[in-house]
Amino acid sequence: MCRIGAIKSKRKLHPSIALKLMRSQQEGHDDSGFAFVMQDMGGLFENYKDLPLLSMAAAVEGTRLAEDILRETGFSRVMQWSPDINNKKGLKIEAMPNYMFEALQYPKSYKHATKEEKEELLIDTAIRLRKTLEETNSGFIYSFWPDTLTLKEIGSPRDIGTYFNLWEGNKDLTASIITAQCRQNTNYDIVRYAAHPFFLEGYTGLVNGENTFYEKNREYQESLYKGYIGFESDSQCILYTLHYINKILKWPLKYFKHTVTPLSYDEIIQREDSEILLRIKASLANLEINGPNTFLAVTPDKELLCVCDSKKLRPVVIGKDDDTVIMTSEVAGINDLMPDRDITKDIYPNEHETVVVKDDLTIERWQQ
């Protein structure tokens, strides 16, 4: 079973903290991979927050193709960073030749473009890059969005940490929000795209679970929005639903829970907002999830989100101290990082609950 973790802090944190969070939960590891997404960057990327940041892993050919596409679209590189590689013998990792993280300036023609126009350009370019790299089997693009850095690799989480020198913290690679998982989605082929966390236009999602409505979700989402692609994992669907509800439909976040795990008809008709909830239940029936799931997410407003399936079949716990909140599968992980917190304030969300960590770290608990 997967273990997942999301950390949000007033401080800027190095990804080593994610590795440490997951270490005591390693019963869930199977040496299939490690992946993390960093948002609200610090360190080297602190001064490039408004510029799109490309995260990709590629062969030489893929790197060249990506550079060509970016240049042709009008992007220009402002800053580039590559991780220090420790390629010692015996590490369990299927490394790619190049790992590129670069901040890019928008094309000149976008000087006066609106936020929406810029976002449109980013998603279109990301789709084009992915398509090209897929066709040539020459690399993977994980995110292309401001203030966001993603790394995914196949292998043992411990060795991946060693390979990228992630066990020791430093001030160069930091962010206030880090989400991570220490294995691949092993239901399907082991491919880098199938690793959590998934990212789309400022939304990050990771799941411990099985979405038995995967086929329904996928069939519906494929025609909903151009960015809903891949579907390498049944969990991606849940992120796409969050994106659809909040970004496309512009509905408040609380309606996400009403979409993925709608209340029963008998419960709804007791409520004042029954008309609305029944409409949502009918119109978005294809986005319901079923099966055991814990879903953690990050929103573009830098909020953390946690919801569970309607029967609360998967674990999750939320712990907090003065400057950090951690959501993760097992309390052991939180105990390692926050041994001195007040454990009586730990939150174990229920099946009707949405837990939201606001940007100022206040925690809201909404009952469905």
């Binding site: 086929e215 329904k216 609380k254 119109s283 978005l284 294809n286 029967k311």
Partner: protein, 541 residues
């Protein structure tokens, strides 16, 4: 050579032969009284006596004889055997009968029969499909007894989320426009057999069972009236909210409905416009005069005559116009508060119709009832029953996938019917159709079987058209109707649905679904490669 008259009706011409054992018969006459088809009669035979006193002399013996008639012939219903105290009589299938040839050759008419198609040569697709995706390990099965399940489906037009015109105020969604009516109902509909096609006792039993399931058992099942009206008392009662009123090309019963509208206290559950039916696609309804009882005349407002609903709705000639006119008038009749749905026979063209309805910008159609080949019928020409139509499974799947192609699955809920439960498990058939994309199913024939229908798919009885139904289900003759116990039938219907409910949960649990698995074809496999290709489900062997 004895003179053999080949061109007369002989026992061997008929589909069933009466076997009678005179030595067991006590001449009580019950068999003759029970035979609603007048297929047997008491007769006297002249025999040579074997008794000691009269040995060799002629004597008269009272026996039961089979009538040799094209009209009064044995249907194999078995009522004679049921009532015989000594097992002296039974009907035996004649595998070499010539009935269908002789009937046409003598009568110069199309042979009409009731019940069902008797030409199921192709085997049932649904029986070759299994629920093959079982949740185990990290994705656990649910517990059918312990966990909660929701077996409800929308009925009525569903709009895509971005067409709901929702506004957000103070963090809450609010409605800004009137939206099409939409109800949540149980995924099984009692459908749609008219008063007239079935006896008043059968119809009343269905209505009682519907009300009981709703009000006592909490199962929001709906019943469709069929095209034959509905008793005015029921129309004016609160129970009408469980009834889907049907209108078809004959418009039978609608005079009364319209007259009662001002006095109605509740809206009906829906309106179902019947364009066609699966058992005899392209053909209209047919109620032979023999079944037009006095009360049927009153409810329908018709004389005692053969009642034919035309094959088409008169004056309507295109999908858009016909559908719009009818739907708008029906929607307007109940002030746009009641879902209006359409029922068509499954056909090669079903997808075109469904596509048109999905694309209709006025969102007037609230349900698509697709009726398959193996559906039952009150009466039809045998040639239609046996040789026209389209199996339900692939056409339902086509319609669902056509909606998926447009990204509009679920917008017009699909309900499938036609031969469900034919091989014994109604719940399994319903479940598989739901996984293939149906929001729910409807059944009529299954209800008749629950009520005690003695017919079969292999030609037994199938005399629903005659008004002489030996079980009193499709009869209009008072003596026959009285054979049916209304309360017991209602109880059996309720029990059957309760059993179906348990069985549906027993299928939802192992695939890890707590709500209806509409469109979850990934849960299905088939042992037939052709079915796998056609339905786009996994092949298993």
């Amino acid at each position: 050579m004895a003179a053999v008259k080949i061109n007369e009706i002989h026992k061997n011409d008929l589909p069933w032969i009466i076997e009678y054992d005179e030595s067991k018969c006590i001449q009580c006459g019950k068999c003759v009284a029970a035979c609603s088809f007048n297929a047997i009669r008491p007769a006297v035979e002249l025999r040579k006596s074997n008794s000691i006193t009269n040995k060799g002399k002629a004597e008269r013996v009272l026996v039961i004889k089979q009538n040799l008639s094209l009209d009064n012939y044995c249907r194999g219903c078995g009522m004679c055997a049921n009532v015989c105290p000594n097992g002296a009589i039974k009907a035996v299938r004649n595998n070499d009968d010539r009935y269908s040839v002789v009937y046409r050759a003598v009568k110069a008419d199309s042979f009409k029969k009731g019940g069902r198609s008797n030409l199921n040569t192709e085997g049932r697709t649904l029986d070759k499909i299994k629920i093959g995706r079982i949740s185990q390990m990290t994705d656990p099965s649910l517990d059918a007894q312990r966990h909660t399940f929701e077996l409800k489906t929308p009925f009525g037009r569903v709009l895509k989320a971005d067409k709901l015109n929702f506004d957000v105020k103070d963090g809450n969604i609010i409605e800004t426009t009137q939206l099409p009516p939409n109800r949540w109902i149980y995924p099984v509909i009692f459908g749609d057999m008219s008063i007239g096609a079935v006896s008043w006792r059968m119809w009343e039993a269905m209505a009682i069972a519907t009300a009981y399931l709703n009000e006592v058992m909490g199962i929001p099942i709906r019943m469709c009236t069929g095209e034959g009206g509905i008793p005015t008392k029921l129309l004016k009662s609160r129970y009408v909210k469980y009834m889907i009123l049907q209108i078809a090309s004959g418009h039978f019963g609608w005079n009364r409905i319209i007259k009662a509208m001002p006095d109605m206290t509740e809206d009906p559950a829906g309106i179902l416009i019947k364009i066609g039916q699966g058992a005899k696609p392209g053909d209209g309804g047919l109620l032979l005069a023999s079944k037009v009882a006095r009360y049927v005349q009153e409810i329908r407002g018709v004389p005692k005559a053969d009642l034919l609903s035309p094959p088409t709705h008169q004056g309507l000639y295109s999908i858009e116009e016909s559908v719009q006119k009818m739907f708008l008038s029906m929607n307007a009749a109940f002030n746009f508060r009641v879902p209006v749905a359409i029922k068509v026979a499954a056909s090669v063209t079903s997808v075109s119709v469904y596509n048109n309805l999905l694309r209709d910008p006025y969102n007037i159609v609230g349900g698509f009832f697709l009726d398959g080949l193996a559906a039952g019928t009150g009466a039809a020409h045998e040639i239609s029953l046996n040789h026209t139509g389209h199996p339900i499974t692939s056409k339902l799947r086509d319609c669902y996938l056509a909606a998926v192609h447009q990204g509009r699955q679920g917008e017009i809920p699909l309900f499938a019917g036609g031969g469900l439960g034919q091989s014994g498990s109604f719940a399994a058939d319903a479940f598989k159709l739901i996984c293939l994309g149906a929001n729910g199913v409807f059944t009529g024939r299954m209800l008749m079987e629950i009520a005690g229908c003695v017919g079969s798919d292999t030609g037994k009885c199938n005399a629903c058209n005659t008004g002489l139904c030996p079980a009193g289900i499709a009869a209009q003759n008072d003596n026959l109707v009285k054979r049916l116990d209304v309360d017991k039938v209602a109880q059996n219907l309720v029990n059957y649905i309760l059993a179906t409910d348990i069985e549906l949960k027993k299928l939802m649990a192992p695939i890890g679904c707590s709500t209806l698995p509409i469109g979850r074809s990934d849960a299905l496999i088939t042992v037939d490669k052709h079915i796998s290709n056609r339905l786009d489900i996994q092949y298993g062997c």
